[in-house]
C-alpha cells in the first residue's frame, strides 16, 4: 500500500479511556502462573488420600481398642476420614472434569473447523 502518513486522528474518547482505567484498577490479579484448577485438583487428591489414611488409622485403633468407648471414638474418627475422602474426591472430580470438558470443547471446535474446510474445498473443486 501507499506510504502516506495517516491523517491526524483523535484519541480514544476520554470517557472510554477512563472507564478502561477504572476496570483495570478493579481487576483482580492473582499474580504468577497459578493455575487454580490444577491446584484444586491436587488438593482434592491429597484430601482423599488423607481421608483414607485417617479411616485406616481409626480402624487400627479400633482393632487395638480396649473398651467400647474407644471403639466408638474410633468409629466417629473413621467417619470423619470417610467424609474427607468424599469431599476430596468431589473437589478432584469437579476440577479435573472442567479441565477435561474445556479441552474437549476446544477440540470439537477445531475438528469442526477442519471439517468445514474440507467440505468447502471439495465443493470449490467441483466434486
Amino acid at each position: 500500500m501507499d506510504d502516506v502518513k495517516p491523517p491526524a486522528r483523535e484519541t480514544m474518547s476520554p470517557s472510554r479511556l477512563a472507564q478502561f482505567e477504572a476496570e483495570v484498577t478493579k481487576m483482580r490479579v492473582s499474580g504468577g502462573g497459578a493455575n487454580p484448577e490444577r491446584t484444586a485438583a491436587r488438593v482434592g487428591i491429597g484430601l482423599t488420600v488423607l481421608g483414607f489414611v485417617v479411616a485406616f488409622i481409626s480402624w487400627w485403633s479400633a482393632y487395638n481398642a480396649g473398651t467400647f468407648e474407644d471403639i466408638h471414638r474410633a468409629a466417629i474418627f473413621a467417619l470423619i476420614g470417610v467424609g474427607m475422602a468424599l469431599v476430596g474426591a468431589i473437589i478432584w472430580l469437579r476440577n479435573s472434569l472442567t479441565r477435561y470438558l474445556r479441552y474437549w470443547i476446544i477440540r470439537l471446535v477445531y475438528e469442526q473447523r477442519e471439517q468445514t474446510d474440507r467440505l468447502l474445498e471439495r465443493r470449490d473443486n467441483g466434486h
Binding site: 500500500m1 501507499d2 506510504d3 502516506v4 502518513k5 495517516p6 491523517p7 491526524a8 486522528r9 483523535e10 484519541t11 480514544m12 474518547s13 476520554p14 472510554r16 479511556l17 477512563a18 472507564q19 478502561f20 482505567e21 476496570e23 483495570v24 484498577t25 481487576m27 483482580r28 490479579v29 492473582s30 499474580g31 504468577g32 502462573g33 497459578a34 471446535v109 469442526q112 473447523r113 468445514t116 474446510d117 468447502l120
Partner: protein
C-alpha cells in the same frame, strides 16, 4: 496526538516490560519491551517464528510471562486471567480465523455478549461497521470468504467496545485486494481513536496506517521507530540483520 490531559504523562495503555515467556521449557520471548499509547497504532513486524503471536498471547493474558510484566494504564496486571482482561477491554482478533465455522454469523456475534452487552447493540454496531455481514447474518460462518471471516472476527471483537485491540496477521492467506479492504476498516477503527497492536509478517499492508512499528527477531524487538524511519531500515533488518 495526545489530546487527553489526564493522559498527558503518556502512560501507555498497554505495556510489556522485559517479558520473558515461552511454552513449557521452550523460551520464545527473551526480554520484550513494548509500549502502546492511547490512540496509537503499533505495528509489530517480523518473520515466521519470531514470537509475534506469543507476544500477543502475553498482552492478552493467555500466556503468563516467566519474568517481566504486563502493565495496563500503568498498573501491573501480570497474571490476570485472560477473561478479566477481555472484560476490561483488551480484545484479540486471533491468527487464522477466530470464528466458529458451524455457527451462523449472527450466532458468532452473539458470542460477543459475554461482556454483558445486549445482542441488538452488538449486531447493530457490527452491521454498521461491516454492512456486508448484514446480508449474510444467517449464513454459516465457515462458508464466508476468507476476507469476510476476518471481518466477522473483527466485528465480534469491536462489538464489545474494546479499549485495546490486538490483531494477529489479518492478511494471512488473503488476496491483496481483500487485505486492502480489511485495512481500510482498520484505518477507520484507528481513526475512531482505538489503541491497536497489530501483527504482520509483511510490511507493506500496514505502514500507511501505523504510527509506530517494531521489528521482532528471535524473540526480541530489535528496532522500533516511526513507520517512515523503519521503512528504510526494514529490508536490511529482514535480510542482513542478526544472522
Amino acid at each position: 496526538m495526545m489530546t487527553n490531559p489526564a493522559f498527558a504523562a503518556r502512560t501507555p495503555v498497554l505495556e510489556l516490560v522485559a517479558v520473558h515467556a515461552g511454552y513449557g521449557r521452550i523460551d520464545v520471548l527473551h526480554g520484550v519491551d513494548l509500549a502502546l499509547h492511547a490512540g496509537e497504532v503499533y505495528a509489530l513486524l517480523g518473520p515466521n517464528g519470531a514470537g509475534k503471536s506469543t507476544t500477543l498471547g502475553v498482552a492478552s493474558g493467555q500466556i503468563v510471562p516467566s519474568s517481566g510484566g504486563l502493565m495496563l494504564c500503568g498498573r501491573d496486571v501480570t497474571g490476570a486471567a485472560p477473561d478479566a482482561l477481555a472484560r476490561a477491554g483488551v480484545c484479540v482478533v486471533p491468527e487464522g480465523r477466530g470464528i466458529f465455522p458451524n455457527l451462523t454469523v449472527a450466532e458468532n456475534l452473539r458470542m460477543a455478549t459475554f461482556t454483558g452487552m445486549r445482542y441488538p447493540d452488538v449486531s447493530a454496531r457490527a452491521f454498521t461497521q461491516f454492512p456486508r455481514l448484514r446480508d449474510r447474518r444467517r449464513q454459516m460462518a465457515g462458508t464466508l470468504s476468507g476476507g469476510e471471516q476476518q471481518m466477522l472476527a473483527m466485528a465480534r471483537a469491536l462489538a464489545t467496545d474494546p479499549a485495546v485491540l490486538l490483531v494477529d496477521e489479518l492478511s494471512m492467506g488473503l488476496a491483496p485486494i481483500v487485505v486492502d479492504e480489511l485495512y481500510d476498516h482498520v484505518r477507520q477503527i484507528a481513526a475512531a481513536g482505538l489503541s491497536i497492536l497489530i501483527v504482520e509478517q509483511f510490511v507493506h499492508e500496514i505502514l500507511g496506517i501505523a504510527d509506530v512499528a517494531g521489528i521482532m527477531l528471535h524473540g526480541r524487538i530489535e528496532h522500533t521507530g516511526s513507520t517512515t524511519e523503519l521503512a528504510d531500515g526494514l529490508a536490511s533488518a529482514y535480510l542482513g540483520g542478526k544472522h
